[in-house]
């Protein structure tokens, strides 16, 4: 991303590469801050599911950093895209399971019960932060040749 911004020839190219670069930088900050917050909130528990966000964040950070300097190497691009999709999926599944586990007693997909589960101890929308980062990463590399 950085070499592309430096080599931008006109206003359109510059704006395009600037947006891509800033979005990737925001992602990079996210890859550090979200696992840090999860660690502080004791999300690394005994269950294997609780460790998933950490395992996604490590390659997420490394590949995002790499793509900032080199987006031409095919295997790096593919690894980056695959990791971003994994992050999208992690967020969606995380939100779903947070909501599911917040139901007290029987799972009832009714408005009132679902809203109560939304306000439960496991944050539902917060899990979607991983989806947000994944989507941002995918958009940043979209048609970036």
């Amino acid at each position: 991303m950085i070499p592309a911004l430096r080599n931008a020839q006109n206003q359109v190219q510059w704006a395009l590469e600037f947006i891509r670069l800033v979005m990737l930088l925001l992602c990079l900050v996210g890859w550090v801050m979200y696992p840090l917050e999860l660690l502080l909130l004791d999300h690394w528990a005994e269950s294997w599911q609780s460790k998933i966000p950490f395992f996604v964040a490590v390659p997420g950070f490394a590949l995002t950093l790499w793509v900032l300097f080199d987006r031409k190497t095919p295997w790096v691009r593919w690894a980056f895209i695959l990791t971003m999709w994994a992050s999208v999926l992690t967020g969606v599944l995380g939100a779903y399971f947070h909501l599911l586990w917040n139901f007290e007693g029987e799972v009832a997909w009714e408005f009132e019960a679902a809203m109560e589960a939304m306000a439960g101890s496991r944050p539902v929308l917060a899990a979607l932060a991983f989806t947000h980062m994944g989507v941002t990463g995918l958009l940043a590399i979209y048609r970036a040749r």
């Binding site: 359109v12 947006i19 800033v22 925001l26 801050m33 917050e37 917060a126 958009l139």
Partner: protein, 147 residues
């Protein structure tokens, strides 16, 4: 945004307008969802500070929506200003969540142990930065637009 996307002449222009529109859409969804989440979590309390995120979303959402249909300077400048307000709201929110958590736990925020304890308190610290994130994304989109 929509008009610029339709009228894009080259591949680069199309990608640029597509990315601008999509990131703006993400910001729009963010303003709607964060407002909703705050409501569900009973963030609207008696204190005036607790209402700030709602006001930011309430103005941010229509301004962002307007940008899809008109991005002249009369819309763009207030939009950019409001996105900076959103960025600031997130930062100030995170700081005060941390501060009030520290006060509740009766620890000093200026020591590592106290900081970590405050971080784990009942008020989510990094979650407040969601407003900063949404504001920053939309600001970057808006700042690259020329008349």
């Amino acid at each position: 945004m929509v008009e610029a996307l339709i009228k894009a002449q080259t591949e680069e222009e199309r990608v640029l307008e597509f990315l601008r529109s999509t990131f703006l859409l993400i910001a729009l969804v963010g303003f709607a969802f964060y407002g909703m989440e705050h409501w569900v979590l009973d963030h609207w309390t008696e204190s005036w500070q607790s209402k700030i995120p709602f006001f930011v979303s309430l103005v941010g959402f229509p301004l962002t929506l307007l940008m899809f249909f008109h991005r002249g300077k009369w819309v763009r400048y207030p939009f950019l200003l409001w996105m900076l307000v959103s960025v600031l709201t997130g930062i100030v929110g995170a700081y005060y969540h941390l501060l009030w958590n520290a006060q509740d736990a009766e620890v000093s925020l200026w020591s590592l142990k106290g900081f970590l304890e405050a971080f784990e308190g009942s008020r989510p610290v990094l979650a407040a930065l969601a407003h900063t994130h949404v504001g920053a994304v939309a600001f970057v989109v808006g700042i690259t637009i020329r008349d």
